[in-house]
């Protein structure tokens, strides 16, 4: 593998991690959506680059799906949902931004420590790509933990899935089954999410998980 291919892969995967950090400190819903869309664009570039480098045409399809669904359709749909529901536009974190960023750094450090210790005969690119992917996954998890707003939890989950797709694309020769499964799951998840958003609106007039906490079942 040439040096350039290597560097561009790293640049794009690193970009994903960086955008994951940006997601962590957004305080307005629209900004959050835009940053998420940007992450999806970088993801589709990263997957497209893998398709080119590995010479696997089916990965172009994955890149296209990532671009169409994640960068265009889902942000647009959520945008409209927020408009129509009249949700509060600000989202508060449960944990402060400083502490969240530190926790994020710890997640990335953990991912790197775990992945880079593996000394397999797998090529270093795949291994380092996997370290980036794991970072994105952990940051997505972190975002789901520190947000209480339902929409931003969903975005946290979707950014987590971006990390999964990056990992699947980086695993050289992974059959198409998985990419299709992921794309399919995103579509189904979207349907479910839509249903939830509308039901939540019907019942509470707001999409805020804080409202839900009143009914915490675990106390009963």
């Amino acid at each position: 593998m040439s040096g350039l291919a290597f560097d561009v892969s790293h640049l794009l995967a690193g970009g994903l991690v960086l955008i994951s950090f940006m997601l962590l400190y957004q305080t307005r819903l629209y900004a959050l959506l835009n940053v998420y869309a940007a992450q999806a664009v970088v993801l589709s570039l990263a997957v497209g680059w893998q398709a080119y480098v590995q010479d696997k045409p089916h990965l172009y399809a994955t890149a296209a799906i990532a671009f169409l669904f994640k960068a265009a359709l889902i942000p647009y749909a959520l945008h409209r949902a927020i408009d129509r529901l009249g949700v509060r536009r600000e989202v508060e974190n449960v944990v402060g931004v400083g502490a969240t960023m530190l926790a994020g750094l710890a997640c990335v450090a953990l991912a790197i420590v775990v992945m880079l210790r593996i000394e397999s005969d797998a090529d270093p690119l795949a291994r380092e790509d996997l370290a980036f992917a794991l970072s994105v996954i952990l940051l997505g998890l972190l975002m789901m933990v520190v947000r209480r707003n339902a929409v931003s939890m969903v975005i946290g989950f979707m950014s987590l899935e971006n990390g999964l797709i990056l990992a699947a694309a980086g695993a050289k020769g992974m059959p198409l089954v998985v990419e299709f499964a992921v794309a399919f799951s995103v579509v189904v998840a979207l349907v479910v999410i839509w249903v939830f958003l509308f039901r939540l609106r019907d019942r509470f007039g707001a999409v805020d998980a804080a409202v839900l906490e009143e009914f915490q079942g675990s106390r009963r």
């Binding site: 210790r117 996954i137 992974m174 249903v195 009914f215 079942g217």
Partner: protein
């Protein structure tokens, strides 16, 4: 008929009837069709016992999953019978509309399809995808009542389930990465039977990491202790037939997948041994759930925590390993499925008659509803592990096999079992005896057949388990190492 044809049938029947049920407007007709489809699936699933196994790149039948396919089909069938009597009442009191029911019936069969696919999948990607479909289906069904609690429960289940499934996918990708240098690129690296053959050549470090993710991911679905938060809510707020299916079947399917991966990691030899990890998580779940049982005020939540407890026992047994503990684990999985779904059937009728799920408001059942009251007591005796029921046999085997190898762990196990036992009897006693209070209650139109069938099977397994079944389980237990 070949086994391959049979597997195609157990996938096609539920899928086809799900499509038909989605179109049928009349709920009486569709509940009958639901029962018929489940029965047809059960017949085909039983035929698998007599057919030789096979494996294709996508599907697999061996002795291990035959047991689960058959158990699944059986409980799905009895649940459909129970559901037919349950939903009529829900429709009358207006908790559900005919439109809801159409969705519900279609989803029941779709769920059966997804679970059968997960059990018969040979491709680890397909395994993952089908469990994901099963999860999303149950999410939709948990939210069916559309009350605040139901939506909160479904939301929690959706979020935690999705995170679990995402981690499981990462684990699956890592398995492929570990296999690639040996198996080459392409489909072979995801076919379980092919992976098993060359597992000893895989990179152990990657397998270690993969198993951690698979354990966390699928463990969420099993409802193991630190990852269990979705389980009580999902069980309590959805329609009761779904609680029965969740507890009796879906948890088993997830555990089955964990065991498949355990076999793979074991076959490598140089990777971490999954046993201690499983045993620790199992014991933790058992202890945690046993104490939590005391503080439940909702009857379905009570039995949901009891499911966590039993999953803990089962996972612990498989974690200990060895022919006897594995046998006990398999038996306990079967017994727990049968007993817990029978209990949920009973509880469903009780909640309908009493109009509440609050334990404090349910009193004197043996007096006001003798049949339901005594059945509940019998079910609780069974699940708490009293002889002569089958759960006692399997728990006894788990405890005795553990005592032989590590007495300290066995003491902790027995302590957990006793704590749970106390809680269950305490609550059941309060519900079954005392003054019923309140006005006259409506006559229950309980469907007795499913409950009787389950509990008598459990009793049979406790008194004299049929030799062919024992032989089959012993064979599978040896397979699991």
């Amino acid at each position: 008929m070949t086994a391959f044809l049979a597997v195609q049938a157990i996938l096609a029947i539920p899928l086809g009837s799900a499509a038909a049920l989605a179109l049928l407007p009349d709920y009486r007709l569709s509940s009958r069709l639901n029962v018929a489809a489940a029965f047809a699936t059960l017949l085909v699933a039983c035929s698998l016992f007599f057919l030789p196994g096979f494996s294709t790149p996508y599907l697999l039948i061996d002795d291990f999953n035959t047991v689960f396919v058959a158990l699944n089909a059986f409980v799905a069938f009895t649940t459909s019978v129970f559901s037919a009597s349950y939903i009529g009442h829900e429709l009358e009191i207006g908790r559900l509309t005919p439109r809801n029911l159409r969705f519900y019936h279609a989803m029941c069969q779709f769920l059966a399809f997804a679970m059968n696919l997960a059990l018969t999948a040979n491709n680890i990607g397909l395994m993952w995808a089908s469990l994901e479909i099963a999860t999303l289906t149950t999410v939709a069904m948990v939210g069916l009542y559309q009350t605040r609690e139901a939506i909160e429960a479904a939301w929690k289940y959706f979020i935690l389930g999705s995170v679990g499934i995402a981690l499981a996918l990462f684990g699956t990708i890592l398995i492929f990465m570990a296999a690639r240098p040996v198996m080459g690129e392409g489909f072979d690296g995801m076919v379980w039977t092919l992976l098993m053959r060359r597992a000893h050549e895989f990179d152990p470090a990657l397998l270690d990491l993969a198993f951690v993710f698979l354990m966390l991911g699928y463990g969420t679905k099993v409802g193991l202790a630190p990852l269990h938060a979705w389980l009580p809510d999902a069980h309590a707020e959805g329609p009761t037939p779904i609680s029965a299916v969740l507890s009796g079947l879906l948890l088993n399917v997830a555990l089955y997948i964990v065991l498949r991966f355990k076999l793979l990691i074991d076959a490598n030899g140089r990777a971490i041994s999954p046993g201690p990890l499983l045993a620790t998580l199992g014991l933790l779940s058992l202890l945690f759930a046993a104490f939590m049982l005391y503080r439940r005020r909702d009857v379905k939540r009570l039995f949901a925590f009891s499911s966590i407890e039993h999953m803990g026992i089962i996972v612990f047994a498989f974690g200990m390993g060895g022919p006897l503990a594995n046998f006990a684990g398999l038996l306990h999985m079967t017994m727990h499925s049968l007993t817990k779904s029978a209990i949920f059937f009973t509880v469903g009728h009780i909640a309908q008659v009493k109009g509440t799920q609050r334990i404090a408001d349910i009193r004197g059942l043996t007096e006001s509803q003798p049949w339901l009251g005594w059945t509940l007591l019998l079910g609780v005796f069974a699940i708490a592990g009293l002889p002569p029921m089958g759960v006692f046999t399997s728990e006894f085997l788990v405890v005795s096999s553990t005592f032989a190898r590590s007495p300290a762990l066995a003491l902790i196990l027995v302590f957990g079992l006793l704590v749970a036992f106390g809680a269950l009897l305490l609550r059941a006693q309060g519900m079954a005896f005392g003054d019923p209070g309140g006005g006259p209650e409506p006559r229950s139109r309980a469907s007795t057949a499913p409950i009787v069938a389950h509990l008598s099977l459990v009793l049979l397994a406790g008194i004299s388990p049929p030799p062919p079944v024992v032989a089959w389980f012993e064979h599978v237990a040896a397979m699991l190492k």
